[in-house]
Amino acid sequence: MPKIKLNEKDMEVDKDISIFELKSRYKRKANLFIYNGGVISELQAKSIKPKSGDSVVLIRKGEVPSRKELESLMAARHTPGVHEKVKKATIGIAGLGGLGSHVAIALARIGIGKLVIADFDVIEPSNLNRQAFNVDQIGEIKVKALKTNIRKVNPYVKVESHRVRLTERNVPKIFKDVDILVEAFDVPKDKTMLVNSFARRYPKKPIVMASGLAGYATSNWIKTQKLGNSLYVIGDMKTGAGIGQGLMAPRVGIAAHHQANLVLRLVLGEEK
């Protein structure tokens, strides 16, 4: 019997069974057939009989996969054992601008367990050059809009949102249950307030900060450094936002994804 991958699951199927017959047996409502990475027609699905090593994906267009389906897809895509750790993690994100909104989306895509997001602001037209929001969301409250966008990527990520201006006093309370805190503010004194406030209360919990990501200088200057026992800094540490050095999607996005990847590495125990 041929051993194939059906919707990312390994299974043995009857010899000479067609892809169309697989649909009748395993996913009756499917109306899209993908065979070894390419879309095929219904007519082709009726004639192709998968062999060992082939991959078949059956999809119903527009369908939201169940939690179980989505998890098994991620478990199959990610290295074995990775998803189990990722789905147990709780990550705090302070500030939902170009950094925070993209960190949240990246972590939602890999199936992080829970996000605690905080920002007081609303979406302005000038935000759209780098932030993970859409034109039809202008004027919306950022925490609310981001929650919507996260749901569209992965409806099973738990999101705790706080529309609040973060201060030295409320930071330890809002982020008390997070495993790792991502600093994603714009203004230097806010970055420092967050680091000082969180590190004093939770000295062993990692803080992933960003500094130096404006403009369009080479992206190779952006790097991840561990500066303290639990403080990591991402960026080139010199290119601040200002006249002639605007914040733009490419470099901000690179820094945000450095932050998200560092969070992942910390969750997996790859960074100490």
């Binding site: 590190a199 900060m209 500094s211 990501l213 010199k238 936002a241 914040l247």
Partner: protein, 91 residues
């Protein structure tokens, strides 16, 4: 008096033209005074405002965030590492 290592970052490093320095000091306040003596106005203007450390500076001693309000009380031991970090804008 203990010999410690100091690492300066970002705009502060650019202003004084050096990133790593060894100095002898008793406590953090003393260490900052020594750096001020060594680098002069460039260092003073970059780190201080109205006699206080600017509110966006992060100071780490041996990897731990330190309270900038109690600098003279933080004693130094030989081999300690002090990081002085001014984050830059953008997010």
């Amino acid at each position: 008096m203990s010999q410690i290592k100091v690492q300066l970052y970002s705009t502060l490093r650019e202003k004084v033209g050096k990133g790593k320095i060894s100095i002898d000091a008793r406590n953090i306040k003393d260490a900052l005074k020594k750096l001020e003596n060594k680098f002069g106005d460039k260092f003073r203007e970059e780190l201080y405002e109205k006699g206080r450390i600017k509110n966006y500076y992060i100071l780490l001693l041996n990897g731990r965030v330190i309270n900038v309000k109690a600098l003279s009380q933080i004693k130094l031991s030989p081999g300690d590492v002090l990081h002085i970090i001014p984050p830059v804008a953008g997010g």
